[in-house]
Amino acid sequence: MSPLTLHDYLAVGAILFGLGMVGFLARRNLIIMFLSAEMMLQGVALNLTAFARYRGNLQGQAFVLFLLTVAACEAAIALALILMLFRRNRSLDVSLWQELREDDQPPNLDEEPLPPAPEPEPLPQLTPAGHEPVHAEPSHEEASHV
């Protein structure tokens, strides 16, 4: 088995980047779109680390550190924004947000809307074993003794 070369790493980086791009363009869930964009960034990070190893200096790895920090900041903002959007529409579907568009353009209607979520099955109840004894009314005499 031959050792991994620079090209292998670059290929994986490019594949990650491409998968992220496809995911970003094809998905409609806000969180999945954001995660796809993050995956593109991870592809870039892999490229940088591989090049840093190939070139024998640490600048690429330093770049990755900053890249990760910026990605974390963006994740924080993304979480806040997504929460805000979810509160208004109760959904993460991006196609529900179509208020801003050209005046003469009709809204992009969904031909195959998602099926409604199934009703959750009723939770099981334990069959009580035996019968609960009938509690006798405490009489006045007993109460006074206590």
């Binding site: 690429g60 900053f66 890249l67």
Partner: protein, 526 residues
């Protein structure tokens, strides 16, 4: 170059960043102040003071003498570069920041004012840092310093559905585009073996085009795509109208100016249009990635102009109209960028120069577009917002003075003489026509003619606004509000639009832009 010079360069760059440091420190104070009960005026005055101090510091510092500082080998180690372009962009950022602070004074609700202001100061510092970045990491971080607060700025002043949709759209597409930019940067680092921009340009310049791996063209495409989003060049412009429409007016004005300026500066630096004095531009400026660069920029410019101007004709919403107008103006600026390498190769330094025209136009564009947005913001009240073109009807009767200033900005956007827009367009088209003949003899004259056709198309929709303001009467006249800070912002923009077209101002700006373009220090040896 040993570690010694590298380390010294690291220590020496700190004092250069004093103005940005002050700005970020004040931003921290403002953020902490946002948690107290103090009113907005305190924080606005504080940041005005910081920005004014910054402007004074920069002016006192003066543009560095050519080749004094940046000619040493430390250029290849230092993460920041302090040359004439840095000085120019710094002044632009801090001056623009003053206008934006005045502009936003009464636009933002009291509760969010300090948070908004803090984010805005960080954005301004980011633009300023962008001009001095000499490292891919620094450049990327300064671009993100502009983007990340902008996401917050877009939805902070308003909590309605449109504003949330706009900020989400901008956010998702912005990280998508910065992924492309970063992918280009990672290959660029792999090609050159360093993240230092001077080192990269040196490495690209000393290897022959034929010896390079095919990655170089991937870098060019990815970087242009990523930065094209920031400057709203044509295939990457689609977000702009929606986002501007949903954003608050001051947010739209910020988006129209700050990312665009930063994107152009980043293009100038990364594609090697402005060389550090320590690097000799053997192949000529802008040719670091091979001589396809001008052709790519040419097509981008032509498509951008047409898309912007033609689609603007159909718009009724004012912010959408100005969004398309800003796309069109990005197209004009791209003409200047495309013509720059061939002009510089011809060695006609005393005549036209592409980068000089680009920098002049950037300032002029900033003054007139921000001015127009400031007028809209000044006239809008919550009871009677100015949203569509018809809302401007009868402005000449209710607010004759403001209407006159709006006409000034619109005339400048058209490019009518005695305005900065005219001088800028003149410099750009004259430059494109002056490109000497060669194998691409017809390309640039055609581009210049296309630009003039577009300026004519643009005149139609700007004049329509003028006609609505002066010839029609409104059922419900514009009320407007009395806001001295907003009026001051409009006034500064109007002064710049007029002053930069007349000889003393125009001469000064052209000289500064010429120095910043590096034409005098790095003339291409033939």
């Amino acid at each position: 170059m040993g570690t010694e010079s590298l380390s010294r360069a690291l220590v020496e760059f700190f004092p250069h960043l004093l103005p940005e440091g002050i700005l970020v420190a004040i931003a921290c104070v403002v953020f902490l102040g946002a948690t107290t009960r103090a009113g907005r005026n305190l924080w606005y005055l504080l940041s005005l003071g910081a920005l004014a101090t910054g402007v004074l510091l920069i002016i006192a510092q003066g543009p560095p003498l050519s080749g004094s500082n940046s000619n040493r080998p430390e250029t290849f180690a230092s993460p920041v570069l302090f040359d004439n372009l840095t000085w120019f962009i710094r002044l632009l950022a801090f001056g623009g920041g003053l206008v934006f602070v005045l502009f936003s004074w009464s636009e933002v609700p009291e509760k969010q004012a300090a948070d908004f202001l803090g984010c805005m100061l960080v954005t301004i510092a980011g633009l300023s840092m962008c001009g001095s970045a000499n490292d891919l990491i620094g450049l990327f971080l300064s671009l993100e310093m502009i983007s990340i607060p902008t996401y917050v700025l877009l939805y902070l002043p308003r909590y309605d559905e449109a504003s949330q949709e706009a900020s989400m759209k901008y956010f998702l597409l912005s990280i998508f585009s910065s992924a492309f930019l970063l992918f280009g940067f990672s290959y660029l680092y792999g090609l050159a073996g360093t993240t230092n921009l001077s080192g990269i340009l040196h490495a690209l310049d000393t290897t022959d085009v034929r010896d390079r791996p095919a990655l170089a063209s991937v870098v060019l495409i990815m970087v242009v795509a990523g930065l094209g989003f920031k400057i709203t060049a044509a295939p990457f412009h689609f977000y702009a109208p929606d986002v501007y429409q949903g954003a608050p007016t001051v947010g739209a004005a910020l988006l129209a100016f700050i990312p665009k300026a930063a994107g152009f500066v980043a293009l100038l630096r990364v594609l090697g249009f402005v060389f550090p004095a320590a690097v000799s531009a053997r192949a000529g400026i802008g040719m670091a990635f091979g001589d396809q660069t001008p052709i790519l920029l040419c097509f981008l410019a032509a498509v951008t102009m047409f898309v912007g101007n033609l689609l603007a004709l159909w718009q009724d919403n004012l912010k959408r109209l100005f969004a398309y107008s800003s796309i069109a103006h990005a197209g004009y600026m791209l003409i200047a960028l495309a013509a720059a390498p061939l002009l510089r190769q011809a060695g006609r330094n005393e005549g036209a120069d592409g980068i000089e025209a680009l920098l002049y136009y950037l300032v002029a564009y900033g003054a007139m577009t921000v001015g127009a947005f400031a007028v809209i913001s000044y006239l809008s009240t919550p009871e009677r917002p100015i949203e569509t073109v018809d809302d401007l009807a009868g402005l000449s009767r209710s607010h004759p003075g403001v209407a006159l200033l709006m006409v000034l900005f619109l005339f400048s956007l058209i490019g009518i003489p005695l305005t900065a827009g005219f001088t800028g367009k003149f410099l750009i088209f004259f430059g494109a026509l002056a490109v000497p003949g060669g194998e691409r003899a017809t390309l640039f004259p055609i581009l210049a003619v296309l630009g003039m056709i577009n300026a004519a198309i643009g005149a139609w929709y700007y004049l329509r606004l003028v006609a609505v303001m002066y010839l029609r009467t409104s059922v419900r006249p514009v009320e407007g509000k009395w806001c001295p800070a907003g009026l001051a912002a409009v006034g500064i923009c109007a002064l710049l639009t007029l002053g930069l077209s007349l000889p003393p101002g125009a001469d000064w700006l052209v000289q500064a832009a010429r120095k910043a373009s590096g034409a005098t220090t790095a003339a291409a040896p033939k």
